[in-house]
Amino acid sequence: MKIAVCVSLVPDSTTKVKIGSSGKSIDENGVTFILNPYDEFAVEEAVQLKEKSGAETYAISFGTDKSKEAIKKAYQMGIEKGILIKASGDDYDSYTVAKNLADALNELKPDLIFFGKQSIDFDGMAIPGMVATLLNLPYVNVVTKLDINGSEISAEREIEGGKEIITSTLPAIIGAQKGLNNPRYPNLKSIMASKSKPIEEKSSTYSGNKTEVISMNLPPAKGKGKILENGADSAAELVKLLRDEAKII
């Protein structure tokens, strides 16, 4: 079995976002980049499958050289091989990412492809389904449980207020949600080993974006709120404010 995990590098969730000088993206100065947290569930699932029944495992990322960090983190967690598809610039939309990943996966032909359910930068939840459709493969996103039986798969997908049980067949694309497993912490040995491990580089196969960011802005600043200071004695006043001023109840 051949398993690929698509990984991306994103700003750490504690990042205080500032807008960069172009006005079209964030200022990356001083920002720590990490493996997308949802990708950790994807990597862990692939590594557990490898450990259980043997598999060739790949981590694939589309991006600039910096994205190698995402692949290295996947190595540390137990992925064996890595491929970086080198973006020609840093100006790409979800279609361009999906097309490049799909082209690379089409060459690799894995039996199973994992993604994190969304990346925490653009939060689109778009790429897994786009890649799957470009490859004419089935996909299930937001998966919290996965059973594989030969070429049959059964997945639990989280939905509003509950879950769906979805069946499909391999090859397929699965988007990992928290709950699927508990991602491991890499040990020192694997961290050291990942440093010298080679990453195969491929050139980008597509760059024609379908969308363009024209500006990026911070949310409008909030006015000062009305904070009442008398504990339980303020409850009646709060309800009055919510009713008469905010008109929310």
Binding site: A126, G129, I159, G161, N217, N230
Partner: protein, 333 residues
């Protein structure tokens, strides 16, 4: 010429408010662009049940019967994401729709990526605004979990958009001119092969409102001290008709299910009212709820960061505040 198709989600044969929001926005956009719009429903509802969409301005409505569609696969299934994606795409292509709107619900976010590829469209998910300049569409999309907003221009003839729930207005119109026309899976070339993913079972927790869809949310954090105290949150929520939410700290501690987690690695919510009880307001929590219309914080620490985003708040011990607050709400509701 632009032409808009609104895919109207029906879950368990019912429309949620997000469905009406999508109809209203399609109608508004068709007015701005001066173009036609139609709605597509795939469900087992009767024509009369579907006509309620007319109250929000839908006139031309197409209906594909879900049972009829599922019968193409044979077998006993609930629905199939892959087959529905194919049906929406085929319908759009056959009839020249260039703009396809989905609700940005779990369902809409699962269908729209496939539909964007099948219709050769740009895809912009989870948007909070649409504007038109010289006939070119641009949208506002929250990024970095709401820490920033991107204005994105569409450079493609076709576009698929999903609308974040609770953001666009569902507006009633004066008259109902809805007309429902039936279409068949045969006309959309649906075959058994299109059912590559099949939902065999849907398990819903009974009677609970999900945070992602709720118009009011009462959330509890580590200040609640333990799972045994969350009845205070649940009781307040039930008085005001709210969903219950949680911070990651209490989800990680196993006090509350992950489905309730609000924040960067939980759910992003924009309810009308968000009440945060014993939540400090860490940046990852704020990311998920700062677009709520009215934020109320209850915290004993006057310097807690949550007060910086709060519209209203009470500084005090929540174990004293919550029971009184519940009674005060009861008086006026």
């Amino acid at each position: 010429m632009a032409k808009i198709l609104a895919y109207i989600e029906s879950k368990e044969n019912k429309f949620k408010n997000s469905a009406f929001e999508t109809v209203s926005e399609a109608k508004r956009l068709s007015g701005v662009l001066g173009c036609d719009f139609a709605s597509l429903v795939i469900s087992n509802q009767s024509a009369d049940e579907i006509k309620v969409l007319g109250e929000y301005g839908a006139e031309e409505i197409f209906r594909l019967n879900l049972d009829e569609m599922n019968s193409v696969k044979g077998g006993n299934i609930k629905y199939s994401y892959s087959a529905i994606s194919k049906a929406v795409s085929e319908f759009a292509k056959q009839n020249g729709y260039t703009i396809i709107l989905f609700s940005g619900t779990g369902f809409g976010k699962a269908l729209s990526p496939a539909v964007s590829i099948l219709t050769d469209s740009a895809l912009i998910p989870d948007i909070t605004g649409i504007s038109v300049n010289d006939g070119v569409i641009s949208v506002t999309k929250p990024v970095y979990a709401g820490k920033a907003f991107a204005e994105i221009k569409v450079n493609s003839e076709n576009v698929v958009l999903s609308l974040r729930p609770n953001v666009f207005k569902a507006e009633k119109t004066d008259s109902n001119n809805a007309k429902v026309t039936d279409i068949t899976s045969a006309s959309l070339n649906i075959s058994a092969d299109d059912f590559s993913t099949v939902v065999t079972e849907v398990v819903l927790s009974q009677g609970k409102i999900d945070v992602a869809e709720a118009d009011k949310i009462v959330s509890g954090g580590r200040g609640m001290k333990g799972p045994e105290n969350f009845h205070l949150i649940e009781e307040l929520a039930s008085v005001i008709g709210a969903a219950t939410g949680a911070s990651r700290a209490v989800v990680d501690a196993g006090w509350r299910p992950h489905s309730e987690q609000v924040g960067q690695t939980g759910k992003t919510v924009s309810p009308g009212l968000y009440i945060a009880c014993g939540i400090s307001g860490a940046i990852q929590h704020l990311a998920g709820m700062s677009s709520s219309k009215c934020i109320v914080a209850i915290n004993k620490d006057k310097d807690a960061p949550i007060f910086q985003v709060a519209d209203y708040g009470i500084i005090g011990d929540l174990f004293e505040v919550l029971p009184v607050l519940k009674e005060e709400f009861k008086k006026v509701l």
